[in-house]
Amino acid sequence: MWYYEKKLQYPVRVGICNPKMAKFLIEQYGGADGELAAALRYLNQRYTIPGRVMGLLNDIGTEEFAHLEMIATMVYKLTKDATPEQLKEAGLGEHYVDHGKSVYYHNAAGQNFSMGLQSKGDPIADLYEDIAAEEKARSTYQWIINISDDPQINDSLGFLREREIVHSQRFREAVELLKEEQTKKRVF
């Protein structure tokens, strides 16, 4: 089971009242390579992966939920004091009509979160998929940083981007562990 902890993993500060940023950030909330997709994919894959890397999938999957919460916090803060008129201007008019100010699992283009998650049941295929997913999430953060004008949001996004680098590193190590003969001991 899981326990909630009443704190964010990393401080989230939004410096500029620019609801347009919310529309971009939502990509990492309900987008194909977003944090929800990552969390659900790893937690789903952990059942059918060799025991040596089960723990890693479990733990990275859990951390992704902390990232999801950081993104939601940014979106919430950017929209909570926006008037319907401001939301319309920010390109969030359709969102407002459909969901009000609710945070919602869809991507930047407004497409609902899709359960078409990658999980093949083959350890190597799944881990390579995960490495690719981390690199895709890393690039999404880069694209958002490129169009953001808020240094404080970019600070949090920089943290999240670096986490994708570390996750990718660990998944790469997981592949190495699975390539080894189980009887041999790793020498550093």
Partner: protein, 132 residues
């Protein structure tokens, strides 16, 4: 950090960018446990080192073909990122660590895993203004 370890980017941090986010930290437990220095952070792409020599950089550039019939003026060289995890291999034991505060600020506990990022269009613009 041993000479065998990858990721010497932190060596090149410029000192003109000093992050002041942790100035207000006043927790005595943390203070007594860890020496807290305001960390020095460079947001520019880094050099990646292996075995004591410069291996590569974390940002690469390429220039797309320019046709005389392209509708828009050429944007110039395009960049892509090649962060540290592409080169590190299985992380060696005992790599140098950040203090807890600096680790949080950098998004990783190990300088050798840190690959920063800035908007490449901004640095291009900077280049243009300093050159022109």
């Amino acid at each position: 950090m041993t000479s065998e370890t990858l990721g010497g980017g932190y060596i090149n941090y410029s000192i003109d960018y000093v992050d002041i986010r942790y100035e207000s930290v006043n927790n005595s437990i943390i203070r007594s446990m860890y020496e807290h220095e305001p960390h020095i952070k460079n947001d520019e792409p880094i050099d990646i080192w292996k075995g004591g020599y410069l291996l590569t950089t974390s940002r690469k550039w390429y220039t797309p073909y320019v046709s005389p019939f392209d509708p828009c003026p050429p944007l110039g060289p395009i960049s892509y990122e090649t962060p540290i995890q592409l080169y590190l291999g299985f992380q060696p034991q005992g790599m140098e660590q950040f203090s807890p505060f600096d680790a949080l600020a950098h998004g990783t506990l190990w300088p050798g895993l840190y690959t920063p990022y800035t908007n490449p269009y901004l640095s291009k613009r900077k280049e243009l203004t300093t050159n022109g």
